[in-house]
Symmetry: C2
Subunit: 386 residues, 2 copies
């Protein structure tokens, strides 16, 4: 199993700081994983990403299986080489993307058959080949195949998916264990808790998964369209159900305040497309709140986007310059806003970690949340779909 | 006048190495200027550009006048601040873009009236306000307004344009001289030689311009669609007509071999969209010839794009990875190919300069040209329109 040491615990909340050792380096938690869907964080060269110093990066098995494909990635030297990124990589299993992107999806007890959203070609993911693909990629952390549902799925469907997810996780672990025994892969496998909005199902799922030596455990099936309050309540209720001594990963969440809240519930790892996707719609996350850079009010503003940020975008560009580049549809705009947004999310988690270690996490969280109310623009905080 | 010292001369050709001193730094020539049309090299953050270490960068007055506008650029602290680029900047005067992009263009003896290609708004450029705009930008080198023509324009039209260009240059210089006297701007003004394909007109134009204290002189009206041989002959015939003791700038040229040839004719400065525009169509310039990264043959190729290149793209990505990112339409692809192509053009000029200083320019040029034939792909060398 991947070594995981919890090095500090907050006294007021369940927040903790830890160190997860992977084949490509140590991941200091809590940590935010930038999303590199198809083998790159959109618009960001590998060396630029390295300068932002994420602890670990995420890529999507679904996208990579479809293009360039498992065999091609192997021939090109593995996913680290494809991405030009030497640090830790986690891949999801494709379960969520099959659910959200693929056409003609058909789930049965042994896996899921679907058509590519790119060219309509037929594919099948099952608990074993989903793990195999990630092992062929050479990732540091692989995720088990799970069955994702919309948040308003009916109870029998949710229960069936929960049972399948547990069975698939166990099958995936068996495959991963075999592969590790054969040598050549030293990564870890994380299981995923499902169970919809039902705490008892979530509990049952967690207990069943906890009986097996997974390297970590994720909360899945959240941030799928449910109201913000429901998300918060769910995280607070479901994250603590996962084994406390192993890393906990909240998949696909979320806004900066969501992250701080989840850290207080004992979550260690996060991924979300918000900082990268929002960059493409002109939204900047800052210490003073969100900015819509396309607003006319920024046109003549010579100030940096975020006065508290040391990222290269804030060091080199004014708000007015960023607005100009966005309005002129310059590709550079995506690069600059992505660099800033990722810096913000990564620094937020670095700050959270330092605060936990220093025993002042609650004060840190309050300070961040208050500061972020000071300059927030109307309408700038509700575009998850961006 | 901007100080310009010719520090080395080639013994076999008219190639020379020089140093042009501008308010934002010394430009070591021969030099290639990356094109930052609307205030950015497309896809390249300012700090990334700085790492590629160009001597000087070009931006387009036409685009900047239309958006974000002269006054706004001033309010935002000038063009250097807008671009996040602290080094020398040259702007063209807009003459060429009015000719190639604007709608309902009408030229008279006092300037040109046109409609914006962005929103159809009416604008006028004249010899004085074209210089004023560039002074307001705060550029290091401004260009006079010239009248550009297609290469097959009839003789009377060419002659009228040549006369206008000289008259406008003199008017522009008067304005620049006034502004410099008033203080606040220490940049230089370059005149532009026109005259179509007619050597006697080119000669007359050069002589007329040489009577005035311009900081440098450009060859304009080439690379506008004429055949390659005609371009070469024109450069060889027209560049030497410009004053030898001042920097010579060949506008809008060209392929690597064109640059090396023009350097041998005594040209000091170049700009061209090729390295940046070609990047967007998947074309890589390399020491072994051009590559079309979208070709299937690169799909499983783990080698770097250019074995002789030390740019970060070649250090971090395989040909197969670059092909994947291009085929997947990832924005990162443009960034990576642009970084490599600019590195190639900038290194080519650095190599030319070193060779001139070392007294082996002809050998350098022959070596580069032979190497570039070794791996060139069919069809990869004829997409100037890219």
């Amino acid at each position: 199993m991947l070594p995981f040491a919890i090095t500090s615990r907050d006294h007021e909340t369940a927040a903790r700081a830890g160190e997860l050792t992977t084949p490509h380096g140590i991941v200091r938690t809590p940590a935010f994983m930038p999303v590199g869907t198809a083998g790159t964080v959109k618009g960001i060269a590998a060396w630029e990403l390295a300068r932002l110093a994420p602890e670990i990066v995420l890529a999507n098995t679904y996208h990579l299986v479809l293009r360039p494909g498992v065999e091609r990635i192997e021939r090109l030297g593995g996913l680290h080489r494809l991405m030009g990124w030497p640090g830790p990589i986690l891949t999801d299993s494709g379960g969520y993307q099959v659910h959200s992107l693929a056409a003609r999806r058909r789930v049965d007890d042994d896996g899921v058959t679907f058509q590519s959203h790119i060219d309509g070609s037929a594919h099948r993911l099952d608990p074993e080949n989903a793990v195999d693909a990630q092992i062929h990629f050479g990732v540091d952390i692989a995720m088990v195949l799970d069955e994702c549902l919309p948040f308003d799925a009916d109870a029998p469907t949710v229960e069936r998916a929960e049972r399948r997810t547990v069975a698939w996780a166990v099958r995936g672990l068996r495959r991963a264990t075999d592969r590790r025994r054969q040598g050549g892969w030293g990564g870890g496998l994380f299981a995923i808790q499902q169970g919809g909005a039902d705490p008892s199902l979530r509990g049952r799922c967690s207990q069943a998964l906890a009986e097996h030596p997974f390297d970590g455990f994720a909360v899945g099936g959240l941030a799928v369209g449910e109201p913000s309050q429901q998300l918060h309540d769910s995280v607070a209720a479901f994250a603590p159900l996962l084994p406390a001594e192993r890393p906990r990963y909240l998949m696909g969440v979320g806004y900066p305040e969501d992250l701080l809240r989840a850290v207080a519930s004992g979550v260690d790892l996060f991924d979300c497309v918000l900082p990268t996707r929002s960059a493409r719609t002109g939204k900047l996350y800052t210490s003073r709140g969100e900015l819509n850079i396309k607003n006319t009010r920024h046109a003549d503003d010579d100030r940096p986007p975020d006065p508290d940020c040391a990222c290269p975008t804030c060091a080199h560009y004014s708000r007015g310059a960023l607005r100009h580049l966005y309005v002129a549809r310059e590709a550079t705009s995506v690069v600059l806003l992505t660099v800033h947004n990722l810096s913000f999310f990564l620094n937020l988690m670095r700050g959270a970690r330092e605060a936990i270690i220093a025993g002042r996490y609650s004060r840190f969280r309050t300070r961040v949340e208050l500061d972020r109310m000071s300059e927030a623009e109307e309408g700038a905080s509700a575009d998850l779909e961006g």
